[in-house]
């Protein structure tokens, strides 16, 4: 699921359950999840982690470039 679609669904559900104060936490979760999806190990999801090249940059580093 795309991050934006997911975030909208989460916020709507939280609102419907009477938890509007959850919205900022869900936005932070969406931001964190977007960074997780940018991580380079996802590029080689068909290979064991041990086969990935060592020493690649983190998603946080990539995002800040």
């Amino acid at each position: 699921m795309r991050i934006e679609t997911w975030l909208n669904a989460m916020k709507a559900d939280a609102e419907a359950r009477g938890l509007p104060e959850l919205a900022p936490l869900l936005e932070a979760l969406a931001q964190s999840t977007a960074a997780l999806r940018r991580a380079d190990w996802n590029d080689a999801a068909d290979r064991p982690v041990g086969d990935l090249p060592a020493g690649r940059r983190s998603a946080e580093d990539e995002a800040s470039r």
């Binding site: 699921m1 936490l25 960074a35 041990g50």
Partner: protein, 475 residues
């Protein structure tokens, strides 16, 4: 005999006196109960105190020792337990109104092994509700206060345990650590806290937070005390500090990128001082790197949320109002974690495990600060560090949670204080399944810091990395 108040002596120091009969288990127990009566109104470190049970156990220990049936250095030593851990006959509240107040049927395995070693259970300590927080503020029993400054948090989630050990209410305590919950309060209160390798000590009989990240371990006043408690928890017979295996030489690696990017200036100063002291003592210090360290928080979050939700979903559905507001909201996030992201995070966890293991091929242990900031004021959600405003939760977890993900053993030990008298701490991370080796290195580090910590500087008072606890009430 040691001139310190009885309640502040280390286990390693007092155990020979207990063995010889010079000090009784009953005297140790009364010293702790007296301090609890005197100070727990301020600290709120305990949820339940079993004074009668502790006194009876102490009398039994004194009888056994007098009859020549001494079990070892923990015999007759009063300890406390985080109230997340089952003790037969006592409810396990997890600091929550959600938990039933029915007594646990059995001791958790780690409690049973400690009792078999002769330890006396004084009571159960306050914590951040369900261990899901780093300040010990959100508790059905009220916030825990830092013994060094009552307006500040003791860290968390094992905040009551750390406060009790630092203040002389118990000689050691048992906590749990899912993202830093033993090491963070140890750093904030000036105690030693050990998270062993993942899976090494049984978490049976302990309320879970995140089963792939949960650890159990000791909080103590010295590395040797932590070693004795750890050995007993593992079912081994603890030995006196003089018998502790120590390395002749070792090399430490400093993982500066990410781990030292955002650190309070005074914490950094104490850390740099500690490195200088270690180099003066002949320890080789090199650079280390964990390339994906910047991804630690984004890997950690989906795992802890999804696994936390797996446990809490039924009670969040039925009795949401019984949770404290902050814990309830954070747990609620777990409803929304997608399976695909949980899998990505678990794969990231493997990457981190590999990178930490690789960094430890060039050194014997990593060394870094435990907490990026001194103990934060109670009631504060965000603080400024190096010109950035960050959440207290994010900053307190920043340097510890990576080693819950990787499963490597990690220990926090004091390295002096800020000018305001707040403890600072270094963290050592050892090779997976080599916790005993890490403890040996930690004891050498503790001695090097202590030997050089009498300079009258910030570390002079409370730089008690070694065998002498300081009295927080004196600060």
């Amino acid at each position: 005999m040691n001139s310190q108040p009885l309640r502040l002596r280390t286990i390693g120091d007092v155990a020979p006196d207990v063995a010889s009969g010079a000090v009784s288990a009953s005297a140790l127990t009364e010293a702790c109960l007296g301090r609890i009566a005197e100070r727990d109104g301020d600290l709120n470190a305990f949820i339940a105190i079993d004074a009668d049970g502790a006194r009876a156990a102490a009398q039994a220990a004194d009888g056994e020792i007098a009859a020549g049936r001494y079990r070892g250095p923990l015999h007759g030593i009063p300890i406390s337990l985080k109230d997340l851990i089952d003790v037969a006959g006592s409810p396990t509240t997890a600091a929550s109104n959600v938990r039933p107040r029915t007594p646990a049927a059995d001791d958790a395995p780690v409690v049973a092994t400690l009792r078999a070693a002769g330890a006396i259970v004084l009571g159960k300590c306050n914590l951040h509700e369900f261990a899901f927080g780093t300040t010990s503020e959100d508790s059905a029993f009220g916030a825990v206060h830092n013994p060094h400054d009552l307006a500040r948090s003791p860290g968390g989630s094992s905040g009551g345990s750390a406060a009790a050990v630092a203040d002389g209410m118990s000689y050691g305590s048992i906590g749990t650590d899912t993202g830093g919950s033993i090491r963070i309060p140890s750093a904030a209160c000036g105690t030693v806290g050990l998270k062993p390798s993942y899976g090494e000590l049984s978490c049976d009989g302990i309320v879970p937070l995140s089963r792939t990240l949960d650890h159990v371990g000791p909080l103590a006043r010295s590395v040797a005390d932590a070693w004795m408690l750890y050995d007993a928890m593992a079912g081994r017979t603890p030995r006196l500090p003089a018998d502790m295996p120590l390395p002749d030489r070792f090399r430490l690696g400093v993982p500066r990128p990410y781990f030292l990017d955002r650190v309070d200036p005074e914490v950094r100063r104490r850390f740099d001082d500690a490195l200088a002291r270690l180099e003066q003592a002949g320890v080789e210090v090199t650079e280390a790197e964990i390339p994906h360290a910047g991804d630690i928080a984004v890997i950690y979050l989906p795992i802890v949320l999804a696994e936390g939700m797996a446990y809490h979903a039924p009670t969040l559905d039925r009795r949401p109002e019984d949770y404290t507001a902050g814990v309830r909201l954070r747990l609620e996030m777990g409803r929304y974690v997608l399976a695909e992201d949980y899998v990505r995070a678990r794969r990231g966890q493997e990457v981190l495990h590999r990178e930490v293991a690789e960094s430890l091929t060039a050194c014997d242990a990593l060394i870094l600060p435990t907490l990026a900031i001194p103990a934060p004021p109670l009631g504060v959600d965000a603080v400024e560090v190096d010109g950035h405003t960050d959440s207290v939760r994010g900053l307190t977890l920043r340097l510890t949670q990576g080693f819950n993900l990787s499963g490597h053993p990690a220990i926090s030990l004091p390295c002096g204080r800020t000018p305001d008298g707040l403890p600072c701490a270094v963290q050592l991370v050892g090779r997976r399944d080599r916790t005993a080796d890490l403890l040996g290195i930690a004891r050498r580090v503790e001695a090097a810091i202590q030997d050089n910590d009498d300079d009258g500087g910030h570390g002079g008072h409370g730089g008690n990395a070694g065998n002498a606890a300081s009295d927080p009430a004196a600060t």
